[in-house]
C-alpha cells in the first residue's frame, strides 16, 4: 500500500498479481539463479505473459498502460521476497521509456511489443571503465559509415549485459562536442559482428543480476539504430529520465529498510540470550528504534516525492537528494539489523545477510552518493 494521492484499489489488485508471480515463478528459483549469476530468458517470457513487463508503456504498443505505481509495486514486491536483483524495472521503466518517449514510430513499433512480451530483454550501456559516473567523458564512438554508423568502444557494469539482446548504447557521434556529442543507439545483439560480451562480473551481492563488460569493435549500425533519428540528443535524453529512475531506487531502499526492521524485530523477539529475549536488551530496542525511524522517514519522504513527481515538480536536485539519503539509510539499517542477528546475520540462510550485501550497491550505483551531494551542493 503506497500512501499517495492517485493510488487506487486497482493498484492493490495488480500488487496481488505481482505477489503471486513472485511467489510462484521467482522464490523457488532464487538460489539457483543466484548461483547461475543470471536469470533465464523463460522468466522474461513468463513475466511478459503475466503482464509484469513494460507496465507503463502504452497499451497500443502492448504495454500495460499503467503508471509509476505499477513500477513501484513490482520493486516493493520483489523486495519483500528479498530478490532485489530482478531487473524488470531496468527493462520496463528505464529502457522501454527511452524508446516510447524518444524513439521513432518505427522504433516504437519494432521494439516495444517485444519488450512487453519479454521476447526481447533490454540493457543500457553508459558507464565506461575510464569514465565512471562522468558521462561526458565516454570514449565509445559511433562514426558515420555509409548511411549508418560504426560503433567502437567498451562499457562496464552493464546490468542484463549477459541476457540482453537489445542494448541501448551511449556513444559519441561528435567527440569534440562534449555532452552535445552524445547519441543513443539501439543495438540488436543477435548476429552483431564485433560485439562481444565480457565475463559476468562476480559482485558482492545482487548475485542473480548479471553485470558485464561489453566490447564493441567496429560494430555496424544501420541508420534506424539511432534513437529518435537525430544525433546529439543522448545526454539530454538520459538526464531527463534520471529523477524517475532515482525514485525507483528509493522505493527499493525504503522497502528494504522496512523488511529488514520487520525481520529483525521478529528475530530479537524470538531469540534468547542470558536468559531473556534479545528484545529485552535496551541496546536491541534502541537500535531497532533508530532503524524503524529511518524506515518511517524514508517511507514518508518517498511517498511525498511520488506526489511531487506526479505533480511535475520533482527535479534533478530532488532526485539526487532522495537517491543518496535513502540508499545511505538503507545501508545503515541493513548493517545494524545484521548486527542484531549476531552470528546468524553472517549466515546466508538469513535474508538479512542478502539485504546487507545488496544494500552496499545503492550507495554506488546510479551515480555514487558523492556525485549526488555534488549535484545538490552546486545548487546552494
Amino acid at each position: 500500500m503506497i500512501r499517495s494521492r492517485h493510488y487506487t484499489p486497482a493498484h492493490e489488485d495488480f500488487r496481488q498479481t505481482v505477489r503471486r508471480f513472485m511467489e510462484r515463478e521467482c522464490v523457488p528459483h532464487r538460489d539457483e539463479w543466484q548461483k547461475a549469476g543470471r536469470t533465464p530468458r523463460e522468466l522474461w517470457l513468463r513475466a511478459g505473459k503475466a503482464g509484469l513487463l513494460c507496465t507503463k508503456v502504452d497499451s497500443r504498443f502492448g504495454g500495460g498502460g499503467g503508471d509509476l505505481y505499477h513500477a513501484l509495486i513490482i520493486i516493493e514486491e520483489q523486495t519483500r521476497i528479498c530478490f532485489n536483483e530482478l531487473t524488470f524495472y531496468l527493462h520496463s521503466d528505464i529502457i522501454a521509456p527511452y524508446i516510447e518517449l524518444y524513439g521513432t514510430e518505427e522504433q516504437q513499433a519494432r521494439y516495444l511489443p517485444r519488450l512487453a512480451a519479454g521476447e526481447m530483454v533490454a540493457a543500457i550501456a553508459m558507464t565506461e571503465p575510464g569514465a565512471g559516473s562522468d558521462l561526458q567523458a565516454i570514449r565509445t564512438t559511433a562514426r558515420p559509415d555509409g548511411n549508418g554508423y560504426r560503433l567502437s568502444g567498451q562499457k562496464v557494469f552493464i546490468s542484463n549485459g549477459q541476457v540482453a539482446n537489445l542494448i541501448c548504447v551511449a556513444a559519441k557521434t561528435d567527440p569534440d562536442a562534449g555532452a552535445r556529442g552524445i547519441s543513443l543507439f539501439l543495438l540488436e545483439t543477435d548476429g552483431a559482428d564485433g560485439f562481444v560480451r565480457g565475463k559476468n562480473l562476480n559482485k558482492i551481492g545482487c548475485k542473480a543480476q548479471d553485470s558485464s563488460e561489453l566490447f564493441f569493435d567496429d560494430v555496424r549500425l544501420p541508420p534506424e539504430a539511432l534513437l529518435g533519428g537525430a544525433e546529439g540528443q543522448g545526454f539530454a535524453q538520459l538526464m531527463l529520465r534520471l529523477p524517475e529512475e532515482r525514485l525507483i531506487m528509493a522505493m527499493s531502499a525504503v522497502a528494504n529498510m522496512e523488511e529488514a526492521v520487520e525481520e529483525t524485530a521478529r528475530y530479537v523477539g524470538e531469540r534468547e540470550a542470558f536468559g531473556q529475549p534479545l528484545s529485552d536488551f535496551q541496546n536491541s530496542r534502541f537500535k531497532l528504534a533508530e532503524c524503524k525511524t529511518k524506515a518511517r522517514l524514508g517511507r514518508a519522504y518517498l511517498e511525498h516525492s511520488i506526489d511531487s513527481f506526479i505533480d511535475g515538480d520533482f527535479d534533478a536536485t530532488q532526485g539526487a537528494m532522495i537517491k543518496w539519503w535513502t540508499t545511505q539509510r538503507q545501508y545503515e539499517v541493513a548493517d545494524e539489523c545484521l548486527q542484531l542477528h549476531g552470528g546468524y546475520g553472517y549466515m546466508s540462510e538469513y535474508d538479512i545477510s542478502r539485504r546487507f550485501a545488496d544494500s552496499r550497491l545503492g550507495r554506488i550505483a546510479g551515480g555514487t552518493n558523492e556525485i549526488m551531494k555534488d549535484i545538490i551542493g552546486r545548487t546552494l
Binding site: E262, R266, V268, S279, R285, F286, A289, A300, W324
Partner: protein, 387 residues
C-alpha cells in the same frame, strides 16, 4: 520555506504580524532579558494584547479559537527571530490545553481568559530532583484535609517557574499507587502559603528563559484546585498531552534548522579562505548538501505528522520518532554550521553560536531522546510479537 500545510490567508496575516512582533519587540530585548534571566511581565501583556497567547482557546474564554497552525506559526516565527524569551509556547500550548481539555467549567472561566490576556502566566511542575523522566516515581504528595489539599514536595527544571503565577503541580493523592495515584493541581502561587522558589537555575544556554526549583511545605490549596475535580487522573492526562508536546518540539527544531542553514549559506558565500569562497570547498558543499537533504526529509515527515495529528491519528511511537529524530538532526546540523563558521562560530555575537548553546537542550527536554527510543523500540518489538 515551502510547506504543504493548509495555511489560509488568515494564517499568513497572523504570521506576518507575529514575525514583526518577535523581530521588533522581542529579539532586540534578548540581551537585557538574558541579564535579568527572564522576560518581564510587560511583554506577556503585550503578547496577549496582540493575540499571541493561547490562540487556540475558544472564544467563550476570550481566545481566538484558532487551529494548531496558529501555534506552529508563532513557534516558527519566534525561533526565526532568535527570541528565546518569553517562552510563550509553554504557556499557550502546554499549560493552557490542560485547562481547556480537563478543567472544570469553573476552572476554565477562572483562568483561561487571564491566560489569554497575559495577566496570568502559566507553568507546569512535573519533574522532581530525584525523578527525572520517571513520573510514576514522583514523591510530591497531596493529602486531602477537609475541603483542602496539603501539598509537600519539590520540583525542578520548571520553565517559567519564576515568572508564573499559575502552576499546574503534579502530586500523588495516593502515594501507594504508581501512575493511578497522580493528580494535577492548579496552584495560584501568590495566594498560597508554604510555596517557595529556589534560586534561578544557571543553565548552559537559554539564559533569557527562567528555570526554577520549587518547594511545597504543607502548602494548602482548596479542593477546587484539583484539575477536573477528580483524583488520580493526572497520569493519563499527562500522557495524552505528550504527543502534541513532542510535535511542537519538532516544529521548533525544524525552524532552528532552517534558520541555521540560511545564515550559514550566507556566511560561506561571503567569506574566503586560501583564495576561494568557503562555499567552493567540496567539504563545505557536501556538508551543506547533507544538511539541506536532512532538512527536506524532516520537513516532509514533520508536516505529515502535523497533518495526521490534526486528523487525530498521530500515535505515540510516531511522535517519539519525530521528537528524537528532529532534535538529533537539529543538533548535528547546527554543529556542522558552527564548524563552517570557523572561529566566529564560537563567538556568541554570532547567532549560530547562540543557537548551538541554546539548542543543546532539545535532545534532553520533553522526554530525553533515550526515552523516545525506548518508546519506539518497545512498540517495534511488541508489534513483531503480535504478528
Amino acid at each position: 520555506m515551502i510547506s504543504d500545510l493548509p495555511y489560509t490567508d488568515e494564517h499568513n496575516i497572523f504570521r506576518a504580524s507575529a514575525r514583526k512582533f518577535f523581530e521588533t519587540e522581542c529579539a532586540p530585548q534578548q540581551p537585557a532579558w538574558e541579564e535579568a534571566g527572564m522576560a518581564p511581565r510587560t511583554i506577556w501583556a503585550r503578547a496577549g494584547e496582540m493575540g499571541f497567547l493561547c490562540s487556540r482557546v475558544s472564544p467563550d474564554h476570550g481566545g481566538a479559537g484558532g487551529d494548531l497552525l496558529f501555534s506552529i506559526i508563532l513557534l516558527e516565527e519566534q525561533v526565526r527571530a532568535g527570541a528565546i524569551a518569553p517562552v510563550l509556547s509553554l504557556h499557550s500550548d502546554v499549560v493552557a490545553p490542560y485547562l481547556a481539555a480537563y478543567g472544570t467549567a469553573a476552572q476554565k472561566r477562572a483562568f483561561l481568559p487571564r491566560m489569554v490576556s497575559g495577566e496570568t502566566i502559566g507553568a507546569i511542575a512535573m519533574t522532581e530532583p530525584s525523578g527525572g523522566s520517571d513520573l510514576q516515581a514522583m514523591l510530591t504528595t497531596a493529602r486531602r484535609d477537609g475541603d483542602d489539599y496539603i501539598l509537600n514536595g519539590r520540583k525542578t527544571f520548571i520553565t517559567n517557574g519564576h515568572s508564573a503565577d499559575l502552576i499546574i503541580v503534579a502530586a500523588k493523592t495516593d502515594p501507594e499507587a504508581r501512575g493511578k495515584g497522580i493528580s494535577l493541581f492548579l496552584v495560584e502561587v501568590d495566594k498560597v502559603q508554604g510555596f517557595s522558589r529556589g534560586r534561578m537555575l544557571k543553565k548552559l544556554g537559554q539564559h533569557a528563559s527562567d528555570t526554577a526549583e520549587l518547594a511545597f511545605e504543607d502548602m494548602r490549596v482548596p479542593a477546587s484546585c484539583l484539575l477536573g475535580g477528580e483524583e488520580g487522573r493526572g497520569f493519563p492526562q499527562l500522557m495524552q498531552r505528550l504527543v502534541e508536546e513532542r510535535l511542537m518540539t519538532a516544529v521548533a527544531s525544524m525552524a532552528m534548522i532552517d534558520r541555521a542553514l540560511a545564515m550559514t549559506i550566507d556566511y560561506v558565500k561571503g567569506r574566503k579562505a586560501f583564495g576561494q569562497r568557503i562555499a567552493d570547498f567540496q567539504n563545505t558543499r557536501f556538508k551543506l548538501a547533507e544538511a539541506k537533504t536532512e532538512a527536506a526529509v524532516l520537513r516532509i515527515f514533520l508536516e505529515r505528522c502535523i497533518g495526521d495529528f490534526m486528523e487525530g491519528r498521530l500515535d505515540a511511537p510516531t511522535s517519539a520518532m519525530l521528537k528524537y529524530w528532529a532534535t538529533e538532526q537539529q543538533w548535528a546540523i547546527i554543529d556542522d554550521c558552527v564548524q563552517l563558521h570557523g572561529g566566529y562560530g564560537y563567538i556568541l555575537d554570532y547567532p549560530i553560536a547562540r543557537m548551538w548553546l541554546d539548542g543543546r537542550v532539545t535532545r534532553i527536554y520533553g522526554g530525553a531522546n533515550e526515552i523516545m527510543k525506548d518508546i519506539v523500540g518497545r512498540s517495534v518489538a511488541s508489534a513483531a510479537r503480535h504478528d
